[in-house]
């Protein structure tokens, strides 16, 4: 169809550009420009040669030809051309013209047979090449006839020639035009059909592509849901992808809680919507979607619930809500919003509805998984000490990090025990397996360990008994454990380890050393194991670090490398336990989540300054015994006699008991103990925030009597803010007392 007939711009390739119908105007114009003059001239020549010998039949035939031409024209222009086969037009045309020629008496012209060809040429000339050929022949013809005419004298009048020529021209025109028109219409029809086929093909392809795209979009929205993400991560990811695929500006997922209220669980592109924003059942646009169980599109402005208002605020004008259903139960609602005049329509709704089914399943799975994981984690956490005891003279801190990778619950545990006498127990262990089972074993070991430790068993004996406990458990498990008993007064530590990574001791100068002594096989390996123990010096100012292997194990490096790194990172870090734990975890694990769960426990032995002692203790009777240990430790430098030490301990304890009794109210109060050593003078001040009074019950001032009697100086300074008790004792002043 490159061979376009550029006679007008309304049509192209035989198709009317405005109506899309086959066009005939091109053919008409062509005939008017080229063929009509040629035919008129040719028939004029015939008449000239006929010498006026025209039959009456000629005129009848001419009239019939005119009618035929008019009818054919009407058929052509009314679009009914194809009602008659084009062969019929051509046949009639040939017969008519031939009859005209013979009845016109155009005698013996040598070129006469050529005129019979004229209609045929008309038929053939539906391409522009044939039109040119016909034009040339006709021109040649005209020149020959004109030459003959000028040679013959006495021809017909000019007027008769003109009229006759017009009749003949119109007749021929009428005969050839439909042929043209029909041919062209058929070509155009074929072309239209072809084009229609092409369009249909394109439409089919587009549809197939659309389906593929929809599937692809679905895939993009939901493939993420196959991976194991936490609910929050899952929702955030899904919302992000929905935004990319639907080209929405904001989106939110509301998840149904147990009480059938919807809570905003995750939003994207929305400000001002708290997670947890509640919508009662049926309330607002999301509630309506949940009730309808069908996707709903709405204008954002028409909605007044908190969520829709937030969408409006972000410039969303069109909202689409899709219910998230699992087994016909609505577990949530997905809302997307689009602004900038974009309307969310059926296509988006269909796509989201498909995606919603998968999202709902993924949400349910994530919820279940989180619930289970949360239960296991809660269980495990419940087995770790909620808070560590406050031990005068010892600062302790612990950190526990669950393994992130497979979100598994580990079996790491630790404990800090205030033991009878001057001892403090530090324990840590790691059950080999994972999950609820590991956590339960860990709980049993921890309880058994506490029991033996309080029974004053030495670390070696404690582990030996724990080993027996492990062997007695139904589940055959092994576990590592390390147990240290610190004697703060004697400044020693005794340790035993059952296959646990060696504790780290950082001395006051900052040099770090792994305590390799006292090690044996893990618990549960061999029933007959007797666990050895080792004793080490524990200077004030040093720090002990217990940890599980998760701290020193890294993919692609050996355990020894990990231990070396730990030692080098810990060197020079004998300091506050909390920051120390954080620093070591940061240095050894970096930002990577640990492969295994990690427990770290650090204890720093406070070096008591020689002259000053400052303590702040909670108002609980349980602080009295540790307070006495600390005082004893503090006074050891000035070597008081047994009686002197006893007197000071009793007096300070009495003052502290008063302070504890003074503490009332729901807020836990604390009291302060400040000691000063100046030469042979020991002075201790006990301050509380209550008002002074004698203790109740049968005490009857015995505490006051003791303080006065045991000390050289005893003063009470009561005030609004609290009570200050000042005690003073000169050492060596009561020899023989």
């Amino acid at each position: 169809m490159i061979e376009a007939r550029e006679f007008g711009v309304r049509e192209r390739n035989g198709i009317d550009l405005e109506t899309g119908e086959p066009a005939v105007s091109g053919a008409v114009r062509e005939l008017a420009v080229v063929r009509v003059p040629v035919l008129v001239l040719a028939l004029l020549a015939v008449e000239v040669m006929a010498d006026g010998a025209t039959h009456d039949l000629f005129y009848y035939l001419l009239a019939a030809g005119g009618l035929f031409a008019a009818g054919a024209l009407w058929l052509a222009f009314s679009g009914r051309g194809p009602a008659l086969p084009w062969v019929l037009y051509v046949g009639i045309d040939i017969v008519l013209l031939s009859a005209l020629l013979y009845t016109s008496g155009g005698g013996d012209s040598p070129i006469r047979p050529l005129f019979v060809l004229l209609p045929l040429i008309g038929v053939l000339s539906y391409s522009r090449y044939w039109t040119a050929v016909v034009g040339c022949i006709a021109l040649l013809d005209f020149l020959v006839v004109a030459a003959i005419h000028s040679a013959a004298e006495g021809g017909p009048s000019v007027a008769s020639i003109v009229v006759f020529s017009l009749f003949i021209g119109l007749g021929t025109l009428g005969a050839t035009l439909p042929v043209h028109a029909v041919a062209q219409r058929q070509r155009a029809k074929a072309e239209l059909e072809q084009r229609a086929n092409l369009l249909a093909e394109q439409a089919a392809r587009a549809q197939a592509e659309a389906v593929a795209e929809t599937v692809g979009k679905l895939q993009r929205i939901t493939d993420v849901t196959l991976s194991q993400l936490s609910l929050e991560e899952l929702l955030r990811e899904v919302l992000g992808r929905i935004g990319d695929v639907i080209h929405s500006d904001a989106a939110a997922v509301l998840v149904a809680a147990d009480d059938l209220t919807l809570r905003a669980s995750c939003t994207a592109g929305l400000n001002g919507v708290r997670n947890g924003t509640r919508l009662e059942a049926g309330q607002g646009f999301p509630g309506r979607v949940a009730q309808a169980r069908e996707p709903i599109t709405t204008a954002a402005r028409a909605e007044e619930d908190e969520l829709s208002l937030a969408f409006t605020e972000q410039g969303a004008s069109s909202l689409l809500g899709v219910p998230l259903t699992v087994d016909e139960r609505v577990i949530g609602v997905l809302i997307v919003g689009a602004g900038d005049g974009r309307e969310l329509g059926q296509v988006d709704a269909d796509l989201l509805r498909l995606a919603a089914d998968r999202i709902a399943l993924a949400i349910q799975r994530a919820q279940l998984y989180e619930r289970e994981h949360f239960a296991a984690q809660t269980f495990q956490r419940s087995l770790l000490p909620e808070r560590l005891p406050e031990i005068p003279g010892l600062m302790v801190a612990a950190r526990y990090m669950p393994a992130r990778e497979e979100a598994k619950v580990g079996g790491d545990w630790y404990d800090v025990l205030e033991l009878p006498g001057d001892a403090v127990g530090l324990a840590m262990g790691d059950v080999v397996s994972h999950g609820i089972r590991a956590a339960s074993i860990m709980g049993q070991i921890r309880s058994a360990m506490r029991a033996y430790a309080f029974d004053d068993e030495s670390p070696g004996d404690t582990l030996t008994k724990l080993n027996a406990v492990m062997r007695g458990l139904d589940q055959r498990e092994t576990a590592t454990a390390v147990y240290l008993a610190l004697d703060l007064a004697e400044r020693t530590l005794c340790l035993a380890s059952a296959g646990h990574p060696p504790p780290l001791l950082i001395d006051p100068a900052g040099s770090a050393e792994l305590l390799e002594a006292g090690r044996s096989v893990p618990l549960g390996v061999d029933a007959g194991t007797r666990y050895p123990e080792a004793v080490e010096r524990l200077e004030p100012g040093s720090t002990i670090l217990l940890y599980t292997d998760g701290l020193v194990e890294r993919r692609g490096s050996s355990l020894n490398e990990g231990l070396e790194r730990l030692v080098s990172e810990a060197t020079g870090q004998s300091a506050e336990p909390g920051p120390l734990c954080d620093r070591l975890i940061g240095a050894l694990l970096g930002d990577q989540p640990p492969l295994d769960d990690v427990a770290v426990l650090a204890a720093h032995v406070v070096s008591v300054p020689e002259e000053r002692l400052e303590l702040e203790l909670p108002c609980r009777p349980s602080t009295l015994a540790p307070l006495r240990r600390t005082l004893q430790h503090w006074l050891s430098g000035v070597r008081p006699s047994g009686d002197e030490l006893q007197d000071i301990l009793v007096a300070v304890s009495e003052a502290a008991s008063n302070a504890i009794e003074h503490a009332y109210g729901p807020v836990e109060a604390s009291y302060r103990v400040e000691g000063r050593l100046a030469g042979d003078r020991v002075s201790v001040t006990v301050t509380d925030s209550g008002s002074w009074r004698e203790r109740r019950g049968l005490d009857r001032g015995r505490g006051t009597a003791l303080m006065r009697g045991l000390m050289d100086g005893f003063e009470v300074y009561p005030s609004e803010a609290g009570t200050v008790v000042q005690l003073e004792r000169r050492l060596g002043s009561r020899t023989g007392a």
Binding site: P389, E418, P420, G421, P621, S622, L624, A625, P626, R628, G642, D643, L645, Q646, D647, L649, V650, S653, E654, S657, I660, E661, R695, G697, L698, D699, R702, G703, A705, L706, G709, L710, A737
Partner: protein, 121 residues
């Protein structure tokens, strides 16, 4: 943590309960120690001897518990005697609160036993 006190009870040929208290007594455990001691004396026993030779610490709350224990036993027509070696570090507490004015305080369990038997006879 609370102060620790271990109580070990026996009885002599006359049914006198002898309770040896080792460890410490302060406000954190005084009430508990008092209850345990009260429970250790059957109604049939003529009395109780407290052996404080291994008690390393006691303050006014401990003294108060002993006085209360004495009163409770007295209500039950039973006697209480305390044995504490002379010169023990905690002895000064008993001196200052004038313990002897309320309850018998002697140097040894044997003396206390004799004292109780003598009284009851």
């Amino acid at each position: 943590m609370s102060a620790q006190a271990d109580i070990h009870t026996t009885s002599d040929a006359h049914g006198v309960v002898i309770a040896r208290i080792a460890g410490e007594i302060d406000t954190s455990n005084a009430a508990g120690v008092g209850d345990r001691l009260t429970a250790a004396v059957p109604n049939t026993a003529p009395g109780m001897v407290l052996d404080l030779s291994e008690l390393s610490y006691v303050d006014s709350s401990g003294v108060e518990l002993l006085f209360r224990l004495g009163e409770r036993l007295e209500d039950r027509r039973q006697r209480l005697a305390v044995a504490l070696p002379e010169g023990a570090p905690i002895a000064r507490v008993f001196e200052i609160v004038r313990f002897r004015e309320k309850l018998p305080l002697v140097g040894s369990v044997a003396e206390a036993g004799v004292l109780l038997r003598g009284d009851s006879l």
